[in-house]
């Protein structure tokens, strides 16, 4: 009974926190930041695969979150909304990097990352695969990295990208097709 009362009190507190944030309360925003920063950081890191960039994009994401506080709907929860904003921040970053033609793969420049890959596949093949992956259009890359590499459920990926599950599957399919063509052009037949 006491547990039930406590849960109801916690729920009430949670609702108040979200409502305060919606009204632009910075203290409420800090509480939400402390609760969600790890999850947001982890999600971004899965996409960009570089801790320094993930730090930077986590800050950018929370700045965007605060800027959009008036549009936040407390009834729909904070975590999914934050993840969606984080995904778009990461996508914008991927597009800007692509525009600058900085297509060097983070993993390729990080020997330790390649070292932890499967030793049955040569480092050269892994490096070429990772570089070919970086050449994919950002929209396809983000769907493929989350769904194939990180094995996140398609439903979660779809929610984060603001598209349907069928669209996620299509993007992954197209990403794999393009990757196959790229690798074949380099003489790699998986």
């Amino acid at each position: 009974m006491a547990e039930g009362t406590q849960t109801a009190a916690e729920e009430q507190e949670g609702r108040q926190l979200l409502t305060a944030f919606r009204h632009g309360d910075v203290a409420a925003f800090e509480t939400l930041f402390r609760q969600h920063q790890r999850a947001v950081y982890g999600w971004i890191l899965r996409i960009v695969r570089n801790p320094a960039t993930a730090d930077e994009l986590t800050v950018e994401t929370f700045w965007r979150i605060y800027r959009a506080h008036a549009r936040f709907d407390p009834s729909r929860g904070f975590a999914g909304w934050a993840r969606r904003i984080a995904t778009h921040a990461a996508l914008d970053w991927m597009r800007s990097v692509r525009k600058e033609r900085e297509l060097k793969m983070e993993l390729a420049s990080d020997p330790s990352a390649l070292a932890i890959g499967d030793p049955a596949v040569s480092a050269e093949v892994r490096s070429k695969t990772a570089q070919a992956f970086q050449r994919l259009p950002p929209k396809l890359r983000i769907a493929a990295v989350l769904a194939v590499v990180e094995e996140q459920p398609h439903k979660e990926v779809a929610e984060a990208l603001g598209i349907s599950v069928a669209a996620v599957k299509l993007r992954v399919f197209r990403a794999i097709r393009l990757l196959r063509k790229d690798l074949e052009q380099q003489g790699i037949r998986p």
């Binding site: 910075v26 800090e30 930041f33 402390r34 920063q37 790890r38 950081y41 982890g42 890191l45 899965r46 695969r49 801790p51 320094a52 993930a54 730090d55 986590t58 800050v59 950018e60 929370f62 700045w63 605060y66 800027r67 993993l107 990352a113 932890i116 890959g117 499967d118 049955a120 596949v121 093949v125 892994r126 490096s127 695969t129 990772a130 992956f133 493929a144 990295v145 194939v148 590499v149 990180e150 094995e151 399919f173 794999i176 097709r177 990757l179 196959r180 690798l183 998986p190």
Partner: protein, 79 residues
Amino acid sequence: MNEHGRNRTEEDRIRKLLQKSMPPIEAEPEPSRDLWPAVLKRLNEKQAAPPWFDWALLAGLVGLVAFFPTAIPVFLYYL
């Protein structure tokens, strides 16, 4: 094996190769430092910067005064 089946198998191989080339991130990664001070700094910087339409309004007023100096008393009257 037909064309469709062969394509399917090759795509499965690509998936596996991708997973081997880019190992998944550990379960619960943490930021290297507390990011709240950086968020707060960013928030204050952005709040301090006037919005673009303020600058546009100011530019319009300066232009108006420069090209139509006789409008100054009218502005002063309405201030």
